[in-house]
């Protein structure tokens, strides 16, 4: 087995409100999930000011979540998620030559857990355009991994990565109309195409290392999103339409769900009249191989 890669991640979310907020409730998907390929050595969620309620839990998909509530008046909220983890490379296992059409859960007698990712979800309507786009890559008889890589690259090449282009509420339609978007939009588009073809594909939320084997990765300064497709025999295979590659040990997983709405890093509801300012920064640092990893 090849050596795992160690990372340190600092994810800072800062809200500046236009007035003092007396109470607020939040739901965070900011704690990395432990998976067969990812071990969390250390994780800390620091919330300033101190919340009056704080509870750790797991969501429907098994992702760790934190619910917290603010009680005293505050005009600024800072949430710092700090993690150290190691990621095992898996690409070697993703060598399946299975025809993509055989990877569909309908023909693979898959569990409910897998089947649910073949369905449309609130942010992922099944658009005929997306399905047609995906069909171009998933030609009859093509091995599934090859097809997914092909599709990821085509999405990367067909749309412009532009952090200014869209908001968190952008839809797959917006991406098609403007041709621009961020990882979240690319991922929703790819999910729409894959699910339209009957494949099980979920939304992965996390981070990407700034520097990959093939050079710099897009989207490293922010939280990242990509796709994982269920392939019988391989499990969930990650593919990143933003960087046009399979998502292996350059990717750190926070959570997965049907789409962005299931795994939004930080949600909240405040009682306020004015607007608020949001600043998010993400730093991913690759650590030197350590003995404990």
């Amino acid at each position: 087995m090849s050596a795992s890669v160690r990372y340190r991640v600092v994810h800072v979310t800062e809200y500046q409100y236009s007035e003092a907020i007396a109470s607020a409730r939040h739901l965070a998907h900011l704690s990395p999930r432990t998976t067969p390929w990812q071990r969390v050595a250390h994780h800390r969620l620091a919330i300033d000011p101190n919340p009056v309620e704080y509870a750790e839990d797991f969501d429907y998909f098994g992702n760790p979540i934190v619910r917290f509530a603010m009680g005293a008046a505050h005009q600024r909220l800072v949430v710092v998620a700090e993690s150290e983890l190691s990621v095992q490379p898996r690409a070697a296992e993703w060598s399946s030559r299975l025809d993509w059409s055989q990877a569909r859960p309908a023909s693979a007698n898959a569990t409910l857990e897998v089947q649910q990712f073949t369905l449309a979800s609130p942010c992922v309507p099944l658009l005929p355009e997306a399905t047609a786009f995906a069909r171009e890559s998933l030609r009859p008889g093509r091995p599934v991994i090859e097809g997914l890589l092909h599709l990821s690259r085509r999405i990367q090449q067909s749309f412009i990565y532009d952090p200014q282009a869209t908001s968190v509420s952008a839809s797959v339609d917006d991406l098609l109309r403007s041709g621009r978007g961020v990882c979240q939009d690319f991922t929703h588009f790819m999910l729409s195409g894959l699910r339209g073809l009957g494949l099980a594909a979920c939304y992965m939320s996390g981070y990407v290392a700034p520097l990959g084997e093939a050079g710099a990765n897009q989207g490293a300064g922010a939280s990242h999103a990509w796709v994982a497709v269920f392939v019988p025999g391989c499990g969930w295979v990650g593919c990143d339409p933003t960087n046009g590659k399979l998502a292996d040990d350059e990717f750190i997983t926070l959570a997965w769900g049907r789409d962005f709405g299931d795994v939004t890093p930080l949600r909240g509801v405040i009682l306020a009249r004015g607007p608020q300012q949001l600043r998010v920064s993400v730093q991913v640092e690759r650590l030197l191989p350590g003995r404990e990893a």
């Binding site: 809200y15 739901l27 998909f61 509530a69 409910l112 649910q116 509420s169 299931d262 939004t264």
Partner: protein
């Protein structure tokens, strides 16, 4: 004119006629009612219809239809003839809905629990897991007593062979039971003898049962549990019913913003602090109930409510997540589910239904496309129902293509030729009509099992629609009479006995008022007073325009100060328009409408009589019309006396709680600020006659009784400014405001009474000065300004937190 019931179109085999067994012969259970009608003249019937219409207008029974060109509230359209069902037929329906409610409850328990039905393939996973009503956040929740469905309704239709079929299940927040009760109250009054003689089953017990059940299942707390009715607000189509239910059951009617989650529990924001809420009877869709965990774009919900429900600290009825069962796609699976979960036959069958997401079902549906209706599986991907028979050949082919492209979106359903029932509508009071009907029936969970409401909401199709019976589409409603057996037989009936819910101790608790309601009461007080003063002003102005120019000019200055400029060219017309035309925001019609709107949001706090008085005001036939001066004066008299009766209700019909005190503060602030203005304006021209001032202040009679002379300044000031006993005097308002603020001091975080004491002292000091003191006008201005400023202070400091809206934050 005698209506001839039997002149109905002869019944045919194509439909089941509710009334006639065969041409010329009513069915046995209709015989008595029919005979009575035959003996009633057309005029008597027309009178009854009118009575019902008036009662509906007066009590403001409405059904709001979004984007209705007739305005927000459509009056409830009630047919005076009830639908009559014999006892044995009802027994069958009742047993059917009880079984169905239990079955659906078990389905929910499974879906949100072990999900065996999905694992075993009893239900297609795609149907449930892909449905927007399946709330993943609710998985693992087990509501108190295992009851997901507290209140359940089914839409029934009768096929030509006389059998009842279920067209749809209502599992989220079924509406209609409140309307059914309202119908009953109206119709039973029209036929009191028949109602008694036929032993019509009472339905009001249903609401008591619901009330007791909701309190019984409430999570244990300290003392008596508090239940609330959660409404999306006055713009919802069935808002009338929300208020009706709240009032009937004695639960506060609240909006999402009135509730807050703290420490895993739900609380109601009241002016006296937070009160723990144990039960929420929700009347809004579940996905809107929690913007934190469910739909983030919902401004109607309570952040954290889902978490409380999961923890079991609050009972939400019906459980969050129960909406998934409203998908028509489920109907086809229920017979098998009933066998699997209960080992018995489904008693009340669903109309044949296919979910096109299953290939075999899709094929059967498309093969009979011209006989079926297609409905959406999921409301978030909704569309108007498509009626196969109405499609042309090419349309049919195109539609089939559409279905094949996205089959999971479609549910196909057999069309029923629903049964017609006799109608007597206001448009044709002398002729008996016949219209297709549908029946919505209700059941409520009790510790002894589900209990059906012996009656229901009969819905009458709009003429043009042979298949669709929908209130949204402009149909009307009927009362539903279930005939009881003679007393002896009732005992032996297979219905479960009235449940004896463990009695909760009858502890008297303080009436709980949401802060928002307190604010509305404050504004209600202000608007009521403003309307009252405006109506008096218009009366004086209009009278003066006819016979006294000097007075007219003085009153016109007052009107201008109140924001209502009076055209100097045609004063009589201008005064008249201000009373009847809706052109000016400060005119009477528009002010009355504002009063009515605030009153509407307070409906559940008002007695029916009080509400009727408010409601009649905005429905006066004079409004919006140009009528003679005499008629305008008569209208103003009506308005003044109605407004008088409103203050009478406030004085005589309301408990002196903090809500009442804020209402009174609102009333007195309004009276203080305007009266101060009048006095200032009169002081500007001290030489003019003061008769109008006394009349405006409704103090002419007192003045004449007290002083024999013509109105003169010293005595007018004595009466209108300094007199603590005259309810129209400024000092009376000042003292009242101060006293109410002292009584509510424990609720307020600052000493709001102190500045009022100072104002009282200053004003009293003026009384000692001889003649018309030069300090008088500045003091009046100060009083006026402080009154306005204090209203803002209350709004900002006391009511303010309510004005912020919930904003969803999303950070990636």
């Amino acid at each position: 004119m005698q209506p001839d019931l039997l002149a109905n179109p002869a019944p045919t085999a194509a439909r089941y006629d509710e009334l006639l067994a065969e041409p010329g012969t009513p069915r046995a259970h209709w015989a008595r009612f029919h005979a009575e009608l035959q003996g009633t003249t057309g005029t008597a019937l027309a009178d009854r219809i009118e009575l019902v219409e008036r009662a509906i207008r007066d009590s403001g029974v409405t059904y709001n239809v979004y984007a209705d060109p007739q305005g927000l509230d459509r009056p409830w359209d009630l047919d005076v003839l009830p639908l009559i069902l014999p006892a044995d037929e009802w027994d069958g329906i009742a047993a059917g809905i009880m079984q169905r409610a239990e079955l659906l409850n078990s389905v929910l328990a499974d879906l949100y629990g072990a999900a065996r039905l999905l694992h075993e393939g009893q239900l297609p996973p795609g149907l449930i897991l892909g449905h927007s009503g399946f709330l993943r956040a609710a998985c693992g929740t087990r509501p108190p007593g295992g009851i997901f469905l507290h209140s359940y309704a089914a839409d029934l239709a009768r096929s030509p062979d006389g059998r009842w079929w279920v067209l749809a299940d209502r599992t989220q927040a079924p509406s209609g039971a409140g309307y059914a009760l309202e119908n009953r109250l109206l119709v039973a009054r029209l036929f009191p003898e028949l109602f008694r003689e036929l032993h019509v089953a009472r339905i009001s017990q249903h609401f008591n049962t619901l009330r007791e059940s909701l309190l019984h299942y409430a999570p244990a707390g300290d003392g008596q549990p508090l239940a609330v009715v959660l409404t999306p607000g006055p713009y919802n189509e069935t808002y009338f019913e929300h208020g009706f239910l709240a009032r009937y059951m004695g639960f506060p009617l609240v909006e999402g913003g009135d509730l807050v989650v703290r420490d895993g529990c739900l609380w109601l924001k009241t002016i006296e602090g937070l009160q723990r809420v144990h039960t929420v009877l929700r009347r809004q869709d579940d996905s809107f109930c929690d913007p934190l965990e469910l739909r983030a774009d919902s401004a109607l919900g309570v952040p954290g409510l889902m978490e409380c429900a999961r923890r079991g600290t609050v009972l939400v009825a019906n459980a969050l997540g129960s909406g998934v069962l409203e998908s028509g796609a489920l109907l086809g699976y229920l017979p098998a589910l009933c066998q699997r979960l209960r080992g018995e036959e489904l008693r009340l069958p669903s109309i044949a239904t296919w979910w096109c997401g299953e290939p075999a079902a899709q094929a059967s549906a498309l093969a009979r496309i011209d006989e079926l209706v297609f409905k959406p599986t999921d409301p978030v991907r909704g569309f108007e129902p498509v009626f196969g028979p109405e499609l042309s050949r090419t349309e049919r082919a195109a539609f089939a293509e559409q279905v094949r492209a996205d089959p999971g979106r479609y549910v196909a359903q057999e069309l029923v030729r629903v049964s017609p029932a006799p109608t007597l509508t206001p448009r044709r009071p002398d002729v008996l009509g016949t219209r297709p009907i549908g029946l919505r029936v209700f059941a409520v969970a009790t510790p002894q099992g589900y209990q059906g409401m012996p009656g229901g909401l009969t819905r009458v199709a709009a003429e043009a629609d042979p298949y669709v019976v929908s209130m949204q589409r402009g149909g009307s409603a009927k009362d539903t009479w279930v005939l009881s057996r003679p007393a002896a037989a009732t005992v032996a009936a297979p219905l479960p006995a009235t449940p004896r819910i463990t009695a909760t101790p009858q502890v008297r608790r303080q009436v709980i008022i949401a802060s928002r309601v307190v604010e509305n009461l404050f504004w209600y007080g202000r608007y009521a007073e403003r309307c009252d003063q405006l109506a008096r002003l218009l009366r004086i102005g209009l009278n003066a325009a006819i016979d006294s120019e000097a007075t007219e000019a003085a009153v016109a200055r007052v009107a201008a100060a109140m924001g209502l400029p009076i055209d100097r060219e045609q004063p009589a017309l201008a005064w008249s328009d201000a009373a009847t035309q809706d052109t000016d925001a400060f005119g009477l019609p528009s002010q009355l409408r504002q009063l009515n709107q605030v009153a509407f949001s307070l409906r559940e706090r008002m007695s029916l009589d009080n509400w009727q008085a408010v409601n009649r005001l905005v429905q006066d036939p004079v409004l919006g019309r140009r009528v003679s001066l005499t008629e305008t004066l008569l209208w103003i008299d009506r308005a003044v006396s109605a407004l008088m009766s409103l203050s009478g209700f406030a004085l005589d019909g309301m408990t002196r709680d903090s809500g009442w005190r804020f209402l009174s503060i609102g009333r007195r602030l309004e009276r203080l600020s305007t009266s101060a203005t009048w006095l200032m304006l009169a002081l500007d021209k001290p030489g003019e006659s003061l008769g109008w001032l006394l009349e405006l202040a409704d103090s002419s009679v007192t003045y004449r009784a007290r002083y024999t002379s013509q109105p003169a300044w010293p005595s007018v000031l004595e009466l209108l400014l300094y007199d603590e006993e005259n309810p129209r005097a400024l000092m009376f308002q000042l003292r009242g405001i101060r006293d109410y603020l002292r009584k509510t001091a424990h609720l307020l975080n600052a000493d709001y009474a102190a500045p009022w004491s100072t104002l009282i002292d200053e004003t009293e000091a003026l009384a000692l000065a001889p003649g018309l003191s030069s300090a008088l006008a500045p003091q009046l201005r100060k009083l006026h300004q402080y009154a306005c400023q204090f209203s803002d202070t209350l709004t900002q400091d006391v009511f303010n937190h309510l004005n912020s809206s919930a904003q969803a934050l999303v950070a990636r």
